[in-house]
């Protein structure tokens, strides 16, 4: 997570260098010039489109500028109102650039989103259309071929359905005022509900479930947890080919629950393990597998909404996605007794 905010550190370093230069050449530079030089790191951060970071750097720059150069030097008191204006201008410049940068970023994201979405919806749609066209044209094909095509149509439709649900969830998760609908959930039941969306034959063939006998009820948002499980199952089925094993393990711990989704596959590269939860991130070799990468991003948002952690790591002959969800509410004695 930390590398995302590297630019703030860079800005602070630049600011330090500028302060050093200004101190050394103070006698040769007008105060106005010094002020203008101090704008450089602010602009640098503002281009990232993060106003909080911009405000922080602007504040530090103003502080340094005030303490070091504005008379009386080495104090916070300001005698001349003109300097207050310059502070305000620092912030204003930062704000305007941030807003512009945000606009550009939004447009870029929107383009990426549209491209991936149209690609992701078109892929299952073309398999549906292709199969239907064949079925309509050739009325004499064997029943087996017909069944294969019909199954293809069903799988394609299921894929589209999952993607649409993900998009709707994404919109819901983006809402900062999102009220989670917290209730007592049975994670085993939720896993069962998530499995209802998958192909029975595939489940029978490759899925192994291990649910802790001591599993307690969990306080969380039922629908979001179903989505979380469905996305991770989808991911496991997608990236492990037909013959490989998938396992889901739910373990009750003292402080919460650990859920691990494991699928046999080639190991992921170290840097992929970190970025795999980023929006629209796809593995380099995943071009042939449908999915926009929005699934894992949503998983991360759902886990974060429950104050939990999600990580991916290579394990033996495959990849494991591990979720840790803290217990947010204690079960009363009465429910324990019933268990």
């Amino acid at each position: 997570m930390f590398h995302r905010y590297n630019y703030i550190l860079t800005a602070l370093v630049v600011l330090g260098v500028i302060t050093l230069i200004s101190v050394v050449f103070q006698d040769y530079l007008e105060l106005v010039n010094i002020a203008l030089i101090h704008l450089i790191p602010i602009i640098f951060v503002a281009l990232r489109g993060n106003f909080s970071a911009t405000a922080l750097i602007a504040f530090i720059a103003i502080l340094l500028f005030n303490v070091l150069y504005v008379p009386p030097v080495y104090s916070f008191s300001v005698h001349d109102a003109i300097y207050l204006w310059s502070f305000a201008i620092f912030l204003l410049v930062g704000y305007i650039i941030t807003a512009q940068a945000k606009k550009i970023q939004t447009n870029e994201i929107r383009d990426i989103l549209l491209n991936t979405l149209s690609h992701d919806l078109k892929t299952p749609l073309s398999s549906i259309l292709g199969s239907i066209t064949l079925l309509l044209e050739d009325r004499k094909m064997s029943e087996e071929t017909q069944n294969t095509l019909l199954q293809e149509i069903k799988n394609g439709s299921d894929r589209m359905n999952r993607l649409i649900n993900n998009l709707l969830d994404n919109a819901r998760l983006k809402d900062k005022h999102l009220e989670l609908k917290m209730e007592w959930c049975d994670l085993e039941d939720i896993l069962g509900v998530a499995l209802q969306d998958f192909d029975e034959a595939q489940i029978q063939r490759s899925l192994r479930l291990h649910v802790d006998a001591k599993l307690e009820l969990f306080w969380g948002d039922y629908n979001l947890l179903v989505r979380l499980f469905a996305n991770l199952l989808d991911n496991a089925f997608k990236y492990s080919n037909q013959t490989k094993q998938i396992s889901v393990t739910i373990t009750q711990e003292q402080k919460g629950v650990i859920i691990a989704f494991f699928n046999e596959s080639n190991p992921l590269k170290e840097h992929n393990l970190e970025t795999i939860f980023d929006k629209f991130y796809r593995l380099e070799n995943a071009n042939d597998i449908s999915g926009s990468g929005i699934g894992l991003f949503i998983c991360q948002s759902i886990v974060a909404a429950h104050h939990g952690k999600i990580k991916a790591y290579n394990h033996e002959n495959g990849v494991c996605f591990e979720i840790t969800l803290p217990r947010l509410k204690q079960l009363s004695a009465l429910q324990k007794e019933a268990e």
């Binding site: 649900n165 896993l191 069962g192 509900v193 429910q335 019933a338």
Partner: protein, 235 residues
């Protein structure tokens, strides 16, 4: 099953109503069709259908209004069609007296199964002494539950819950409805009781709690018990 009985389809999407008409026709049902609330009321009054399939989002109002009006006068079964994201809506519709619901996108076979079992429930509204479902049977007089011919030990609450589920087999039962019926009116929002007891009941009757055969979960709505034998029809 009497052929050629009339089902009223209330749906504003042409593609969906066409699909419904075709699949119901295949099974010998006649259909009438309405794409607005106003038209639906008129059709209901003039044709007295034996069942209504109702979409909630209609161009001239909320489908729930129709449920209210129909329930004032009759027990005509109503199956609600809804887009997946409307749990509150579905629960409200069930509370108003809808008999069941199917979410979009739905499979035609699932909808037909719902139609058949809803009609059966209405026509066979009997209270049998004994119910059997697959390898599980319950006797209401002796309060004995048998699984694979062995007596099953249940706590009083587990028994009350199982009895309620089996008496309403193959019908969707919203959480609050079950809580009210089994625990009492004051317990409507005590979801943890329900989750805990469903889990313990599953552990006793299901081969796998994650992939249940008897008590299936209707995501966010409630639970449904599988088809019971005294009303075995043409499933």
């Amino acid at each position: 099953m009497k052929p050629n009985e009339l089902i009223l389809i209330v749906e504003d999407d042409d593609a969906i109503s066409k699909l419904l008409t075709i699949s119901l026709f295949e099974y010998g049902y006649k259909t009438r069709y309405a794409n607005t609330l106003t038209l639906a009321k008129r059709e209901y009054i003039s044709h007295n259908p034996m069942l209504i399939i109702l979409d909630l989002g209609l161009p001239d109002g909320d489908g729930k209004k129709l449920i209210k009006e129909v329930r004032k006068e009759s027990k005509t079964p109503i199956i609600v069609l809804s887009a997946r994201r409307e749990e509150k809506e579905i629960i409200a519709a069930l509370d108003l007296g809808a008999d069941d619901y199917v979410t979009k996108p739905f499979s035609a076979s699932e909808l037909l199964a719902r139609v058949r079992s809803t009609l059966r429930r209405v026509h066979h509204d009997i209270s049998p002494q004994r119910l059997t479902c697959k390898d599980l049977s319950i006797d209401f007089t002796t309060k004995e539950v048998m699984l694979n011919e062995a007596l099953l030990k249940l706590t009083p609450t587990e028994y009350a819950l199982l009895r309620y589920l089996m008496q309403n087999a193959n019908k969707v039962l919203p959480h609050q409805q079950i809580l009210k019926a089994v625990w009492g009116v004051g317990y409507q929002n005590e979801m943890q009781y329900l989750r805990t007891y469903i889990n313990s009941l599953r552990k006793k009757i299901e081969k796998s709690s994650t992939r249940p055969e008897y008590i299936t979960t209707e995501s966010s709505i409630g639970y449904r018990f599988c088809q019971c034998e005294h009303e075995k029809g043409d499933e």
